[in-house]
């Protein structure tokens, strides 16, 4: 058992007792069970060996009570001993009483050990755990230190054999033989254990960000809705990728989370999935708003995404099982052989070692393989899915060659061409990452020797518990002298039960203890785990109560600690539910800042207000808290504090406002309370954090036109543009560009931006910025270009078109919406269109119609309209997108009005080319448009009518529209208040009225009266169309009359 316990068992690194503990996991449980079985069966199988007295007894603290021992025992006050004794007259089993419920057991034979385990009943597992934890190398105890488990060659068995044969006949030889047998038995058991645990271990290989990302990439290329796809979509919840390849935020990365995904299988609901280093599992719905997310696991953990999806989706499983993988199997075995050959020379002597290394080797080969095939699987037969995918990929490529229609999916093909390169990269770095894994393991082992701080802190906590007020304060002060920003110390305090004591101290009357305790809590609550623990222990309630204390220091500290703790949702809710928001708002109420004279008292009040603002800032991340702050009258107080000059006051105040301005009521209040002026003023601050919060507050508030105007009036546009030069601070840049984007929605602001040469600066930011910045930059450019034609030229001259088009290949949906909009706005100018066309931008736009996000679809379709209008030879261009026309017609099935309107607009443009019109007619555009005719949405009506008008130009489409019942609903459009709808509708009706049947339908629907009114419109196009339509109806009537009187 020595080898297995030393290597296979998983020990924790940190524990209370100082010794490592066995982790509570499946592998260890298996190990313990085997151990129990082995020991219990031992005396009956090998009675002689069972009676062998151990060299040194096994000693451990038992979980059993003396009363649970039944059998041949002598009981005494201080414990219990067995009647059976060894040759030195020591009892073979001896239970020593340490305290009320604290017993220590000494056992000297396996027989007694077996009895004890039998007596343990349902505490067996716990007892076995205790035995092994206290005796990490039982063989050494049983047979003596000479048999301690050593790594590498071990001759002890041989030595013992020699010894036994040398002294044959002797009495001690007999004992030695027994010993030998016992040793062999334990080794046999060890082997068995080892084999089991290796089998177990080989199933769990830890996931790495690379593996997960590869898998996601691969799965993404097989996501879609048509027949060949395995799932509908797979998306990151968080798009941003950290340097280490993780998408999860850092504070979750410490828990091993790699990324969060939203997966939609073909046959089921959307799932929210976490990829953790320990495997993939379904979570309780992580959203991009991390704070309100639920990271908890729901259901089982799977070793990788494919197995998770296979388990959750039948279709997925069927799809991957239906592929073949003959080709790759062969290669794998070859490689395995090569590997073994290479290592054959230095194989160790001991069979067990050999066995082990072999298995390790196999595992390694498999690992290697899996890395190469960009997928993680362990036993070879489970590799099927991986290889299937590779084949599928190849197949896909082939298909592409066969059916050139697929060309449209530029994105997908891009990815495919990229994959070989990626593959190489990963196989190269594979050895490196393996090393990394090992090194982390090693570190963990080192950690099992706890740092000295741990013991010191444990001692101090003991004094906290045991001392009176004076001793408590001394201990608190001593504790504060540790480096509390260090995680070891933070966790040590928690692990030794210090948090409970600290929180309990808050409920005492001793101010000094409370202050000392809060000072520590304030520091250590920077740690996420500690925050959770504080909330769990009910610390928030007490701290909320302290907010009303008379001592101002206490108030400050309490508010600051709340500010740290309330970084997660549950804590914020707790604060609110205990009336904390009201109390925190009350803290803000200090004498107007800048009032003379400044006394120490009033300074203290300002300090309290600052701490209150800090806490509110943390709390204001929850919607309900925002409302609570408003209801508690926080807004005017915040407005007053906003006049302060100190940055450390302004930052939390502006931070709170910034958070809250996601609410309409706050935006209104910020405007009406005159806070915009202060926000703008603080944009000039030297402090970048403050500038950032101001800019982001303006970003959020500038949704409203009045606010945008105020920002301009107070001269806020200039500093914003100046902030664009701070390209090293990405957060600030993101906020500033966001503010510019929103402000650019007002034409007056756009002209100011023009004067400030903002376009050039913004174009300069199109390269090498994180997505958060890019979204805003592109949004701003889009607004500028859309509002003012000369900006389109400016963007071109600044060289902005190529990077914009380039961004169309991205995956961030928010970014894509903005990029398509900007490209669309630029495309309205012929020169720009030339560049876009040259860069193949229209094709990229077109491929975005396939994006799952409806906003992206709509925005891409809108952008396509000006492209077609302005491109030279647009018809030919559109035709060159194979499958493109079918795609856009199929979008008419969408259920999103914006998508429908945009697609109708695009179709209206496409239909200008007769040949294309013929193609889309073949794709069934007429009945689909007709089906939409009953809509009540004016925007859709307008573009739908446009599209219908255009589509009438081909073949018997006019008749077909009539047959599909599109005419009568169209007539109703004339009642709409929107003149644009009237114009488009009148044109459509004019076109339709060339078919006599349609004329009859129109007439019956009462079209004449409104049309006659519209003839009097000031809009020439409308006049003409209306008149034309009436003309057609009239002609039909005349023809009828003529026919009648012939």
């Amino acid at each position: 058992m020595g080898q297995t316990l030393a290597r296979a068992a998983q020990w924790t690194s940190v524990s209370e007792g100082g010794e490592g503990k066995l982790e509570f996991n499946k592998a260890n449980e298996l190990l313990l069970n085997s151990f129990i079985r082995f020991v219990e069966a031992f005396p009956s199988k090998h009675p002689q060996e069972a009676a062998l007295v151990f060299k040194t007894p096994l000693v451990w603290k038992t979980v059993l009570d003396t009363s649970e021992f039944s059998g041949d025992y002598e009981r005494s006050d201080d414990g219990l001993r067995s009647k059976a004794r060894d040759k030195h007259d020591q009892p073979l089993l001896f239970v020593e009483k340490l305290g009320e419920l604290n017993h220590k057991v000494h056992v000297s034979t396996l027989g007694e050990l077996s009895n004890l385990l039998k007596a343990a009943g349902n505490k067996k597992m716990q007892e076995a755990r205790a035995i092994l934890e206290a005796n990490r190398d039982p063989v050494a105890k049983i047979l003596g230190d000479g048999f301690a488990t050593v790594e590498g060659e071990d001759n002890s068995t041989l030595r013992l054999l020699d010894q036994a044969s040398k002294e044959s006949g002797d009495q001690s030889a007999e004992e030695n033989q027994t010993k030998l047998r016992l040793l062999l038995l334990t080794q046999q058991f060890d082997m068995e254990l080892m084999r089991n645990s290796i089998k177990e271990l080989s199933q769990e290989i830890r996931l790495t960000p690379q593996l997960v990302n590869n898998e996601i990439h691969l799965l993404q290329s097989f996501a879609g809705t048509d027949g060949g796809c395995a799932l509908e979509s797979i998306q990151h919840v968080l798009e941003y990728e950290f340097d280490n390849g993780c998408h999860a935020p850092p504070w979750r990365q410490v828990n091993g989370d790699i990324c969060y995904l939203v997966v939609k299988p073909l046959d089921g609901d959307e799932m929210s999935v976490t990829a953790n280093t320990s495997g993939c599992y379904v979570n309780k719905g992580v959203t991009s708003n991390m704070d309100d997310s639920n990271f908890d696991r729901e259901g089982e953990t799977y070793k990788d995404l494919v197995s998770l999806l296979s388990a959750k989706s039948r279709k997925f499983q069927d799809m991957i099982n239906s592929k073949e993988f003959a080709l790759h199997e062969e290669k794998k075995t070859e490689q395995l052989n090569a590997y073994e050959d290479a290592n054959a020379d230095d194989e160790p002597d001991r069979p067990m070692e050999r066995e082990k290394t072999k298995e390790e080797k196999e595992e390694k080969v498999i690992k290697e393989k899996t890395r190469k095939s960009k997928k993680k699987t362990s036993p070879s037969k489970k590799m099927q899915p991986t290889l299937n995918w590779k084949n599928e990929e190849n197949k896909g490529k082939q298909e592409k060659v066969d059916k050139p229609e697929k060309k449209v999916s530029r994105q997908a093909s891009d990815r495919k061409t990229k994959t070989p390169a990626l593959e190489e990269e990963y196989s190269e770095s594979s050895s490196e990452s393996e090393e990394e894994e090992e090194s982390t393991d090693r570190r963990q082992e080192q950690n099992s020797d706890l740092p000295s701080e741990y013991w010191q802190i444990q001692k101090l906590v003991k004094y906290l518990k045991g001392g009176n007020q004076t001793a408590t304060v001394i201990a608190l002060c001593a504790m504060r002298d540790f480096n509390l920003s260090q995680e070891t110390c933070q966790l040590a305090i928690r692990d030794v039960g210090g948090l409970d004591v600290l929180i309990n101290l808050l409920e005492t009357n001793a101010i000094k203890c409370k202050i000392g305790s809060l000072k520590i809590l304030k520091e250590i609550s920077r740690n996420t785990q500690i925050r959770k623990a504080i909330a769990d222990l009910g610390g928030l309630q007490t701290m909320v109560d302290i907010l009303q204390a008379s001592d101002k220091d206490l108030k400050c500290l309490s508010a600051e600690t709340i500010a740290n703790v309330a970084k997660f949702r549950r804590a914020r809710r707790t604060v609110r539910q205990h009336g904390g928001i009201r109390k925190l708002v009350a803290l803000l109420d200090c004498a107007p800042i800048g009032s003379v004279p400044v006394t120490p008292e009033s300074e203290k009040d300002v300090e309290v207000a600052k701490c209150g603002a800090l806490a509110l800032w943390s709390c204001s991340k929850s919607t309900k808290n925002k409302q609570a702050i408003r209801k508690a009258g926080g807004i005017p107080l915040l407005a007053r504090l906003l006049k302060a000059r100190h940055e450390d006051m302004l930052i939390p105040v502006v931070g709170t406002l910034q958070e809250c301005s996601s609410e309409h009521s706050y935006r209104l209040a910020i405007r009406t309370e005159g806070m915009i002026e202060d926000l703008v003023k603080n944009l000039h601050s030297e402090n970048q954090e403050l500038q950032m919060h101001c800019a982001s507050a303006i970003f959020k508030c500038a949704e409203e036109k009045e606010t945008r105007d105020l920002v301009r009036l107070y001269g806020g546009l200039d500093p914003m543009v100046a902030l664009l030069n701070k390209s090293d601070n990405k957060e600030l840049l993101a906020a500033a560009t966001g503010a510019i984007w929103k402000c650019a929605m007002s034409p007056e602001n756009v002209s100011r931006f023009q004067e400030l040469k903002a376009i050039e600066l913004l174009v300069g930011l199109l390269n090498e910025q994180p997505e958060e910045v890019l979204v805003n930059v592109v949004g701003a450019l889009g607004e500028c270009a859309a509002q003012e034609p000369s900006n389109r030229m400016a963007i071109r001259k600044a060289g902005g078109i190529p990077p914009l088009v380039n961004l169309l290949t991205g995956t961030n949906q928010a970014l894509l919406v903005n990029v398509t909009k900007a490209v669309g706005a630029c495309a309205t100018e012929a020169d720009n269109m030339g560049i876009i066309d040259r860069l193949d931008g229209v094709r990229l736009l077109w491929s975005l119609l396939k994006n799952q996000n409806q906003q992206v679809q709509a925005s891409a379709a809108w952008a396509i309209c000006p492209c077609i209008e302005n491109a030279k030879d647009a018809g030919e261009m559109v035709r060159s997108f194979v499958g493109g026309l079918e795609l856009i017609v199929s979008l008419l099935k969408s259920d999103d009005r914006e998508v429908l309107a945009s697609v109708c607009a695009a179709i209206a443009n496409i239909a200008k080319d007769e040949e294309n019109l013929a193609v889309i007619t073949d794709h069934g555009v007429v009945p689909m448009l007709a089906k939409l005719a009953t809509t009540t949405d004016d925007k859709l009506r307008r573009h739908l009518a446009d599209a219908i008008a255009r589509c009438c130009m081909w073949g018997n489409n006019r008749v077909a529209f009539g047959q599909n019942g599109a005419v009568a609903p169209l007539v109703k459009y004339l009642k709409s208040p929107d003149i644009n709808v009237h114009r488009a509708t009148a044109t459509a009706l004019f076109q339709l009225s060339r078919d006599p049947n349609n004329c009859i339908t129109m007439h019956d629907s009462g079209v004449v009266k409104p049309l006659i009114d519209m003839v009097g419109s000031e809009d020439f196009a409308l006049q003409e169309a209306a008149a034309g339509c009436i003309g057609n109806i009239r002609l039909l009537a005349l023809a009828n009359e003529k026919a009648r009187y012939k």
């Binding site: 001692k459 004094y463 009176n468 004076t470 304060v473 001394i474 002060c477 001593a478 504060r480 008379s550």
Partner: protein, 197 residues
Amino acid sequence: MAPSLHFSKEEVDALTNMFKDLGKANPSRPEKLERTQVREQLHVQFGVTDDIILDRIVRVFDLDSDNYVNLSEWLQGLSVFLKGTYEEKKQFCFKVYDLNDDGFITREEIFNLLKSSMTKLQTEEDPDEGIKELLEITIKRMDADKDGKISRDDFSEAVDADILYLEHFGSCLPEPKDVEAFLKVAATYPPYRATYY
């Protein structure tokens, strides 16, 4: 009367009345209070329970060390005790903890002060052990000049860094609410009349 009292005229009167009233208990020496009397007042009014600290506070009150507290000492002592400035309080606390008035707080003095601070420790362990440990930690922290004892400057420096060190070796200053309560009690004493007959 010492010029630096922090009391208003009314408060001085009230405290004087209180002093005189307490002095009546000892007709032979009405102008002075015995140390035990002051001790009792401190104990009753402020709930100071630690015997050593109580004794020390009274000794600090007793500026001329004649074992009695006269009116001037009473007023000056209370002025610091109840309403002292930060500096005064620092000095006061140091004096209280410096048991033998030699200008240093030594290991032995701290040990004496902390003797009773460990109450609920597990029985099997020597409570002195814990006290010694705390003592060492504290000395190490406060002894800036590394001479093994805490001088006036050491103490002042530590307190400046963290106000929690002010009453580090035992509570010897009243809580704000007790101050008010005490002054109210003082105001209830009847005006003193020098002669009854």
